[in-house]
């Protein structure tokens, strides 16, 4: 439960956490991510650790359809990225 701050309601006071950030991704022939551009630098993806898909909120005008990848980069980090299957855009969900 969120603690009642007893302040006036306002959506502006609440900030999103872990909001997706748009990124640039190069895809392989199999439509898998092969490289991503982070902080202006292209990094090759050494391995894809996990893949999953979510299709949700079909009842809303803007439904949600994403395919997620947890990837390993050459610098050792393992960000989670996804492709929005409706807009064909790539996003990074977390570092």
């Amino acid at each position: 439960m969120v603690t009642n701050t007893r302040e006036k309601n306002g959506a502006g006071a609440i900030r999103a956490l872990n909001a997706p950030k748009p990124i640039e991704v190069r895809e392989s022939k199999e439509n898998r991510p092969s490289a991503i551009r982070t902080e202006g630098i292209w990094q090759g993806i050494t391995a894809i650790q996990d893949i999953w898909r979510i299709d949700d909120e079909w009842w809303r005008p803007e439904e949600l359809s994403r395919i997620y990848f947890t990837v390993s980069l050459k610098d050792g980090t393992t960000p989670t990225i996804f492709k929005d299957l409706l807009t064909k855009s790539w996003y990074q969900q977390s570092r």
Partner: protein
């Protein structure tokens, strides 16, 4: 009952005349800044046309040749406090009514001083002669004040005979009431106190309410208001000369923190806390005093925490010049106090965090941008819906 009134007129003016002898007998206006504007705090009789509370521009238009001096209220207050201390050495019952005005209960003192004349002489000597104190003696405070007001500077007088006859020819302007009431009295053609005394108390009360009844009683020389002695509050004072004059607040705060350690380590402060702190600094060359008073939300007993709190507020202040010395006064000393802390570590941590955020809010003057993570829909398949940042609530 016999009461003496000690009256020093134009005290700030006389103080500045002693500080700056070259402006004696010249028109002098002392100004004080309030809400960004400068107002007349006091004026010498030579500054004709000026009045207390008048805007500086207006005062200078009335008296272009007037010398203007910034009010040093801390110095005037300290001087008058020393006078009150001296008067309390003469009588145990002294009321500090205002800057330059004090009332003393003379009952039982003739046995110490022999005669009333010796007693009055002793009281007059409590004020430096350069200030030309006036002393009035009467059976009550109002008559004693009137007696002091109309006697010659540096002398004493006593109200003898019929009080009504004594007051009758005096102007109503000396009555302790508001300007609006005085204007209304003048509107009714009541310009002398004797004219009020000739009316009935019912007529005065019907027109002016309780104030009218009070004025009627005063016009008959009746004043039952008691002398309210100064309440003695325990204070701790420490002072220190600075190695070199400085106008840098950070350097000043180092000296302040050292003095706080000294003050709180005194035996009289053992197990006690202070609710207020006054910092005074003597400014070089200008012979002025910088003074700031801080009142704490909770009684303080930790010198480091006190220095940190005061330092945050002092950062917003600039000294009027290099300070040569600094003194502290801890006041509103409370008895031994303790704070019940929670048994649980998490609760203690939370309370400590709440206090730190409160201090930050006091420093910034607004709510600091501190958020905490809250689970909103932890079951959601969409990662950004699971948690959100909400403003920290304490």
């Amino acid at each position: 009952m016999t009461i003496a009134c000690v009256l020093v007129t134009y005290l700030p003016i006389k103080y500045e005349h002693l500080r700056y002898p070259e402006i004696r007998n010249k028109p002098l206006v002392i100004v004080k800044e309030s809400s960004g504007k400068k107002y007349v705090y006091d004026h010498s009789p030579e500054a004709r046309g000026t009045a207390k509370g008048m805007a500086l521009e207006q005062a200078l238009a009335k008296c272009p040749s007037a010398h203007v001096v910034q009010a040093d209220t801390a110095a005037y207050g300290n001087f008058w406090e020393r006078v009150i201390d001296s008067l309390e050495g003469r009588s145990p019952t002294v009321e500090d009514a205002d800057l330059g005005l004090a009332y003393i209960d003379l009952r039982g003192l003739e046995g110490i001083y022999g005669t009333e004349a010796n007693l009055i002489r002793a009281i007059s000597s409590a004020v430096p002669s350069a200030y030309s104190p006036r002393v009035g003696v009467a059976p009550n405070k109002f008559l004693a004040y009137i007696s002091a007001f109309f006697c010659d500077p540096g002398s004493a007088s006593r109200v003898e005979g019929d009080a009504v006859a004594y007051l009758a020819p005096r102007s109503i302007n000396i009555l302790p009431t508001s300007l609006a009431i005085k204007e209304k009295l003048a509107g009714f053609g009541l310009n002398k106190i004797g004219e009020i005394a000739r009316l009935s108390i019912g007529a005065m009360q019907a027109e002016f309410g309780p104030e009218g009844a009070k004025l009627w009683r005063l016009s008959h020389g009746i004043d039952d208001t008691p002398i309210v002695p100064r309440s003695h509050k325990e204070t701790v004072e420490v002072c220190s000369e600075l190695p070199a004059p400085t106008s840098v607040i950070t350097t000043l705060m180092i000296a302040v923190e050292n003095l706080l350690h000294q003050a709180f380590s005194r035996p009289s402060m053992k197990g006690k806390c202070a609710r207020s702190l006054t910092i005074e600094a003597n400014i070089q060359d200008k012979a002025k005093t910088f003074e700031r008073r801080f009142v704490f939300r909770e009684p303080m007993s930790d010198p480091r925490l006190t220095a940190r709190l005061v330092g945050m507020k002092m950062e917003e202040i600039s000294l009027p010049g290099p300070a040569e010395s600094v003194s502290l006064k801890l006041a509103d000393i409370t008895g031994e106090t303790g704070k019940q802390e929670s048994l649980f570590y998490d609760v203690r941590r939370r309370e400590q965090l709440d206090e730190e955020i409160e201090q930050l809010e006091a420093r910034l003057g607004e709510k600091p941008p501190i958020f905490m993570i809250k689970e909103v829909e932890p079951w959601s398949r969409i990662p950004e819906r699971r948690m959100a940042l909400v403003p920290y609530a304490h």
